[in-house]
């Protein structure tokens, strides 16, 4: 049996905002509808938003869901989250927000929260007359998971937004790979590509250094992005100084905010290595990436 939080069960047994919102002749009010999923896939959500036209504010939100306990609870949570927001504010609601509202979901059920986020996007895009990115079966290479009809666009997005690093996680979040499994290797390739792209984004030309560092808020960095950024600061700003003194530094590991480095050359045997760590390396990384970073030296294996 799944281990659901009390909040999930509460919203399943007593769902809030279930039902439809029908278009009325009310002045300055329109209804936006978004539909995602399908009966073939085993879960589907139709989201209704009542929007105040002149302010873009969501006056009411309701759902109709075909799906399991967590799909129903996620839908209900979504409607609670977006009521009172403007459409732009609502677009910033992520599947993580939905899962957090519920006190978490089992990993294998995270796709229910993704469905909620997508329905929200669909409703707002429909309202604004914007075409959503959808997969096209004729578009060679775009459809990755034929069992559940999942495109590479969607897989890439969910990898980025949720910092996913394994195909199993991708399956939990968007179902891709959960059928025959023949696309799992392709999903692995996509994960690697996204990781490479993220690293490249961070390792942009030096002239863009500041822009990149400020564009990506430290709190939103994925692990891969963070490591790449640390490496970049070490390579461009720290190592040249140490090399000039006959020393060097190599990134050994990153665990959360703990950065482990190998001090090499003259730095390895220097009596001031603690000062080097704190002033030359830690202070620089804190300045560039996050104030909570702590740098530690590790002993070389040989």
């Amino acid at each position: 049996m799944w281990e659901y939080t009390d909040k999930v069960l509460e919203l399943f047994y007593n769902p809030k905002n279930q039902g439809e919102i029908e278009e009325t002749a009310e002045q300055n009010v329109k209804v936006a509808t978004g539909e995602v999923g399908s009966i073939a896939c085993g879960d589907a959500l139709r989201l209704h938003l009542k929007v105040q036209v002149n302010t873009d504010k969501i006056l009411d939100a309701r759902f109709q869901t075909f799906g399991c306990t967590s799909a129903i609870a996620s839908s209900s949570a979504l409607t609670e989250l977006v009521k009172g927001l403007t459409l732009d504010e609502a677009l910033a609601v992520t599947n993580k927000d939905i899962a957090n509202y519920l006190g978490g979901l089992p990993e294998a059920k995270m796709h229910c929260s993704v469905m909620g986020q997508e329905a929200l996007e669909a409703a707002i895009f429909n309202y604004r007359g914007i075409e959503r990115e959808v997969h096209d079966d004729d578009d060679e290479g775009a459809l990755i998971c034929t069992c559940f009809g999942i495109s590479d666009t969607k897989i890439r997005r969910v990898i980025r937004e949720n910092s996913l690093i394994t195909a199993e996680e991708v399956t939990n979040y968007v179902k891709a790979g959960g059928g025959c499994g023949s696309c799992l290797a392709t999903i692995d390739d996509i994960i690697k590509e996204v990781q490479r792209e993220s690293a490249l984004e961070i390792a942009a030309p030096a002239s863009n250094k500041i822009a990149v560092a400020t564009k990506i808020a430290p709190s939103t960095l994925t692990t891969v992005q963070k490591i790449a950024l640390i490496q970049k600061v070490l390579d461009e700003e720290v190592r040249p100084v140490l090399l000039a003194d006959g020393g060097d530094v190599e990134l050994y590991d990153v665990e959360g905010d703990k950065v482990k480095v190998l001090l090499q050359g003259a730095c390895g045997s220097c009596s001031s290595s603690t000062a080097t760590l704190k002033i030359a390396i830690e202070a620089r990384l804190r300045d560039r990436i996050s104030q909570s970073i702590v740098v530690e030296a590790v002993e070389p294996l040989f």
Binding site: W2, L9, F12, Y13, P15, Q18, G19, E35, S38, I39, A40, G42, D43, A44, L45, R46, F63, Q64, T65, F66, G67, C68, T69, S70, A71, I72, A108, K109, C147, F148, T171, K175, G178, G179
Partner: protein, 400 residues
């Protein structure tokens, strides 16, 4: 921990009969000797194991020497398949069905990676096999035909003896996974075409962790578990004595209750089924309505999802199970229901109720009382209210 409930999930596991518990307890406390030991203390345990073997053999209509105690149904299936292949190394073809238990299906899939060819026979909308398809699949290269006696999800019974006659014509070994059939329909291996048959203790009111593989005398058997010479070298490892004693007692009780319990369960099952079909629109029974285990009904409720139904049932203290993907941890709905080609509107919302001799009329009435409201509440939430719903119409409802 919840103790009292209306337990209608007996195809998953069963309550251990109090008489079974009573029979096995001394072998967990006082009589702990090793049945292989030479001393009297162990020897008396060996005698009890022998008696249990006779009790199981009687239930199956088999000879004592044809009974191998195993740890579970999965072990029995694995052992049978591998033994059959090891005994005929020149043959590289296996026939099974698309609706087998994973204990068979996953072994077959693994064997495909080792150079074996496997034919997975299809089923029709009622979950029945096409014997012509079987006939067409059999060749002189077929080493093994492994087919379940009754399906665990729908209760559909396959015509095992008709199948066996065809298998014998081609000289293949015939293994039957009878985990769901034993104790629910009478079996007689003496007059059967079956070469090997698997059963599991916890499906017949014995505890978990004990099972049996029946191997017809004369069928060449290569052991799967090798070690000491227990079970005449066909399944090594010190015996699970309390489990075996329990299984023996459970087998004896099944023989005693079989006829009466079968009639009673069928009556209660039909009462449940008819009430649901009458009171709730847009639902149907999955599987062959007549060639079916007397204790099982699998009902598909259109436009809603199974796990959600289960959770509402759970709220009422009712235990059932679902073939829906969301309840299983898999993302695909039941492979059995999919193989039957059920439409998506039914596929995801199917619930299995499986009864046993402890099921009461009052319990069935309680289920009948709560089901309409549960289904209505979920359908009120669903965007798919009927087949004419626009969004649904736009989707393919056929089997993928």
């Amino acid at each position: 921990m919840q103790k009292n409930c209306i337990y209608l999930d007996n195809n998953a596991t069963t309550k251990v009969d109090p008489e079974v518990v009573e029979a096995m307890m001394p072998y967990m406390t006082d009589f702990y000797g090793n049945p292989s030991s030479m001393h009297t203390f162990g020897g008396q345990v060996g005698k009890a194991v022998k008696q249990a073997r006779q009790q199981v053999a009687a239930l199956l209509g088999a000879d004592d020497s044809e009974i191998i105690f195993t740890s579970c149904g999965t072990e029995g299936d694995n052992a049978a398949i591998r033994a059959a292949l090891l005994a005929q190394p020149e043959k590289r073809h296996i026939i099974t069905t698309q609706v087998e238990h994973p204990a068979v299906l996953n072994v077959c899939k693994q064997l495909e990676t080792q150079g074996y060819t496997v034919t997975y026979l299809s089923v029709n909308g009622k979950g029945q096999l096409d014997l012509d398809e079987l006939e067409a699949s059999l060749t002189g290269n077929t080493a093994l035909v492994t087919i379940m006696y009754a399906n665990n999800e729908t209760g559909v019974i396959f015509p095992i003896e008709q199948i066996g006659l065809r298998v014998k014509e081609y000289g293949a070994i015939f293994h039957v996974d009878a985990v769901q059939a034993v104790g629910k329909i009478p079996l007689n291996m003496k007059t059967s075409t079956v070469d090997m048959l698997t059963m599991s203790g916890h499906k017949i009111h014995a505890p978990k962790g004990v099972g049996v593989l029946y191997v017809r005398r004369g069928v060449r058997f290569r052991p799967f578990i090798i070690g000491g010479q227990q079970e005449r070298g066909r399944r090594s490892g010190t015996e699970n004595v309390p489990g075996i004693i329990a299984l023996g007692k459970a087998a004896e009780l099944e023989m005693l209750h079989l006829e009466e319990a079968t009639k009673r369960e069928r009556k209660l099952r039909d009462r449940l089924e008819q009430a649901i079909l009458t009171k709730i629109p847009d639902c149907e029974v999955n599987g062959d309505p007549t060639q079916r285990l007397p204790n099982t009904t699998n009902i598909g409720f259109k436009y809603i999802e199974g796990e959600a139904i289960l959770l509402y049932l759970n709220q009422h203290g009712i235990c059932a199970s679902s073939g829906s993907a969301c309840s299983s941890g898999s993302l695909e709905p039941s492979h059995v229901l999919r193989a039957m080609g059920l439409p998506y509107t039914i596929l995801h919302g199917s619930i299995r109720f499986s009864l046993c001799r402890y099921t009461t009329e009052a319990e069935i009435d309680q289920v009948i009382a709560v089901m309409p409201d549960i289904i209505q509440r979920l359908r009120d939430m669903s965007p798919f209210k009927n087949d004419q719903a626009g969004w649904l119409q736009a989707q393919t409802l056929a089997h993928r």
